[in-house]
C-alpha cells in the first residue's frame, strides 16, 4: 500500500460517516434504529465520528419485542446515558394490546413479524423521515439489492423493482410528505468487517457476545435460550452450556453458538473459519426462500 492509502476498514468507515452526514443534511427528522446488537452499536460509533465534537444529533429508536436479553437492555440504557442521546422505544406489547396485531401461538411463536407494525407506527407517530438501520448487503440475498438510501412510500413499503439508482457518492433523499427513507450506512460491511472494526476501535459490546453459561435447548439444529415465554416440546431438554451470541435478536429467534471465546480476537478467529452465515442461526429467515424480501416489502428493518 502506498502512503496515501486507507485500509479496507478505514475506507468503509469513511463511506459510513459520509452517509450519516448526508442524512443529517438531507432530512429534517431522522432516527437511528437501535437494537443493542453489534451492528447498531457500530452504527452509533460511526455516528459519533460523523458529528464529533458535537453530540450525535440523531435520536435512537428501539423496537422492543418484550423478549429481549436483559443484558441488551442494560447496555442500551448505559449507552444512552453515557453519550446523552435521546431514546424512543416502540413497544410490540403495546401494539398487541391495541389489537393491531395478533400474537403468534405454538412452539415457534415469535414477535419478529409483529415488529414491522410497531416500527411503522413509531415512524408515523414521531414523523421520522429517515430511519437509519444496521442492515448489511452480505446478510441476506434480498438485502444484497438494497440501496444506501432506500425510498419507502406512504405505507412504508419497499418496491425492490422500482428503486432509485445510486451512482458515485450522490444520494437522492428527496421525498414527498408522508414518505420516508430507510438508510443503511453499513451496506458494504461484512460480518467479519464489523468484528474487525470493533476490535480495531475497541468498541464496547454487550457481554452476551462473549462466552457465558446459559440454560439452552436444541430445536431444529439451533441452540436457543430458555425463557418464561418459550415452551419446550416433550423431546427437548434444557441444559447449561458455554455459549455466546453471534447476533442478537430477541430471545425467540437468536441462535446461540457453543463457544468458549472470551475476547474479540478469539471471536474474529472463530468467525473467519465458521462455515455458516450468521443469519443461518436466525429462525426468522428460515420460514421461506424469500422470507426476508417479503418482510422487507411490508416495511421490516
Amino acid at each position: 500500500m502506498n502512503k496515501y492509502n486507507l485500509n479496507h476498514l478505514r475506507e468503509l468507515e469513511a463511506e459510513s460517516i459520509f452517509i450519516f452526514r448526508e442524512v443529517a443534511a438531507q432530512f429534517d427528522n431522522p432516527v437511528i434504529l437501535f437494537s443493542g446488537g453489534k451492528d447498531s452499536i457500530v452504527m452509533f460509533h460511526l455516528a459519533r465520528k460523523a458529528f464529533h465534537p458535537a453530540k450525535v444529533p440523531i435520536p435512537l429508536l428501539h423496537i422492543d419485542t418484550g423478549h429481549n436479553f436483559k443484558e441488551t437492555l442494560k447496555f442500551r440504557d448505559d449507552l444512552v446515558e453515557k453519550f446523552g442521546v435521546k431514546l424512543y422505544v416502540g413497544s410490540v406489547q403495546k401494539t398487541i394490546d391495541q389489537g393491531k396485531v395478533q400474537e403468534e401461538t405454538g412452539y415457534n411463536a415469535s414477535r419478529n413479524v409483529l415488529q414491522t407494525t410497531t416500527l411503522l407506527d413509531a415512524i408515523e407517530e414521531h414523523k421520522f423521515d429517515a430511519a437509519i438501520g444496521g442492515g448489511r448487503r452480505d446478510e441476506e440475498k434480498a438485502r444484497a439489492k438494497e440501496r444506501f438510501f432506500s425510498y419507502r412510500d406512504e405505507f412504508g413499503q419497499w418496491d425492490p423493482k422500482n428503486q432509485r439508482p445510486e451512482l458515485w457518492n450522490l444520494f437522492n433523499g428527496k421525498k414527498r410528505m408522508g414518505e420516508h427513507f430507510r438508510v443503511f450506512p453499513l451496506s458494504n460491511w461484512t460480518e467479519l468487517d464489523v468484528w474487525q472494526y470493533i476490535f480495531m476501535e475497541n468498541i464496547e459490546i454487550p457481554s452476551i457476545y462473549f462466552t457465558h453459561k446459559r440454560e439452552v435447548f436444541k430445536r431444529d439444529g439451533v441452540w436457543l435460550a430458555t425463557a418464561s415465554f418459550m415452551t419446550l416440546k416433550p423431546d427437548e431438554k434444557a441444559e447449561v452450556l458455554d455459549v455466546r451470541c453471534r447476533t442478537i435478536g430477541d430471545i425467540t429467534n437468536t441462535g446461540l453458538t457453543l463457544s468458549k471465546a472470551d475476547n474479540l480476537k478469539d471471536i474474529i478467529d472463530e468467525i473467519a473459519v465458521v462455515r455458516t452465515t450468521e443469519r443461518g442461526t436466525r429462525f426468522d429467515d428460515k420460514r421461506s426462500e424469500t422470507a426476508m424480501e417479503d418482510r422487507k416489502k411490508e416495511g421490516y428493518f
Binding site: 500500500m1 502506498n2 496515501y4 492509502n5 486507507l6 485500509n7 479496507h8 476498514l9 478505514r10 475506507e11 468503509l12 463511506e15 460517516i17 459520509f18 452526514r21 448526508e22 443529517a24 443534511a25 459519533r48 465520528k49 460523523a50 458529528f51 464529533h52 465534537p53 458535537a54 453530540k55 448487503r137 452480505d138 441476506e140 440475498k141 434480498a142 438485502r143 444484497a144 439489492k145 425492490p160 423493482k161 432509485r164 439508482p165 445510486e166 451512482l167 458515485w168 457518492n169 450522490l170 437522492n172 428527496k174 451496506s187 458494504n188 461484512t190 467479519l192 476490535f199 480495531m200 474474529i268 462455515r275 455458516t276 452465515t277 443469519r279 443461518g280 426462500e289 424469500t290 424480501e293
Partner: protein, 429 residues
Amino acid sequence: MNDNNNNSNGYLDMELMRFTTAGSVDDGKSTLIGRLLYDSKSIFEDQIEAIETASKNRGKEEADLALLTDGLRAEREQGITIDVAYRYFATPKRKFIIADTPGHIQYTRNMVTGASTANLAVILIDARNGVVEQTLRHTYIASLLQIPHIVVCINKMDLIDYNEKKYHKIKRHFMEFAPKLDIKDIRFIPISALKGDNVVDSSKKMEWYTGATLMHVLENIFISGDSNYVDARFPVQYVIRPQNNKYHDYRGYGGRIDGGIFRVGDKVKILPSGFESEIKSIDTLNESLELAYAPQSVSVTIKDDIDISRGDMIVKSNNLPNQSQDITAMISWFHERPLIVGGKYSLRHTTKDIRCMVKEVRFKMDINTLERNYDDKTIKMNDIARIHIRTTQPLFYDSYRRNRNTGSFILIDEVTNETVGAGMIIERI
C-alpha cells in the same frame, strides 16, 4: 485456497477493491462469481444448502450459482438478473466488492450504476462466439465511466480445446476497436470458470499462457495510484457546531475529501465566495490529523471566521477547479419518461443541490456500434448522449476524466423526485 483467510492478524493491511462484472446468463458470469466466492471460502454451508434446495425445486440437477446473486423473487422466477447485486469476498490481501450487473441492453442503466464506483471491470467473452455486440457495449460503458482497469476474460476455453490461436484471434479482434475507446489499462486472460482454469489457479491445460490468473490480478493490481492526489477538493457536507462549553466556538466543516491532499496550514480558497484562509485543524473522533486525503471523511476548521455552508467547496488557492454555468456532459438516461430538451431538472453535484435546464442534445451514442447519431436525438431509457445544460448557479467542477467525484452529477425529476439521469462532465474546449 488459504487456511488463515481473514484471521485477526494482518487484516489492517488489507485494501478495498471494487470491481464490476457485466454479462448475460450464458457467458458464465454467475459461474465465475460463484467460483471466486467458493474458492475464497465466501459461500457458506447454509447458503449452499439453500441454493441446492432452490435449484431442485426448479428442476435443476446441479446447484445453480446464479441463485446466489439473483436474490429477488422476480429474478429467481424469471431466471435473470434485473438489478445490481453486491457481493463480498476477501482474501488476506484485499476485501472485494463485486457489483454484479445484468448484461442486456435494456439494463444499460444498471451497468452504468455498477460501474460508477468500480476500480476494475471484468469483461467476459464466450470463446466460442468471440467479440460480439455485447462485448463492445460493456467495454464502452467501462470506458465511459472511466473504470481505470479492464480485464478481459476469454471464458469457456475448455469448449474450444484450450486453443491458443483462437484466443489470440479474439484478442486481436478486441484490440481493433479498443483504441477508439478511452481505456488506460487493459489485459487479457484465457479462462474456464467452470473448470477453474486461470481463475484462482494457473491452468495446466494452457501452458502457453504465462500471464497471471484472474485472482492474482484482482489481488495485486495497483489501484491506489488511480486516485487523484493532485487537485485538492473538499465539498462541505455538514457544518458541525457543538455549542457546548468545551467546544464553545468550534465550527467544523464535515465532508469527504474528493481529491488531493490537505495539510494543516494549507492556503485555501472557499468557493463560491472566493474568500481565502488557512486550514487550522483536521479533526476526527480518534485524533487530529496533520494531513488528510481522498476518500477520508474528516472535519476541517479554518483560521478565519467566514460564512461557509453545505454545497460550498474548499480548494487550495493554487489549484482551482473549473467554474461555469454551461456544462457539456455525457448523460446516461435512467427513466421511462424521455429526456426533455428545454426541461428543468434538479441537479446534484458533490454536495450541491441546484437546478438546471437541458439546452441541447448534441448527439446520441449508438453503444452497439460506437457511432454518433446526429439525427435521432430522442433520449429514452438506457440511452447515452452528449448534452449541454445550463445551471442556475455556477458549478465548480473538474472533468470527469480527471476526477470522478467532482466531474459527475445526477439529474432528478422535480415532480416525482426520481433520479432520471447520470452525467459525466466533459472538459470544455
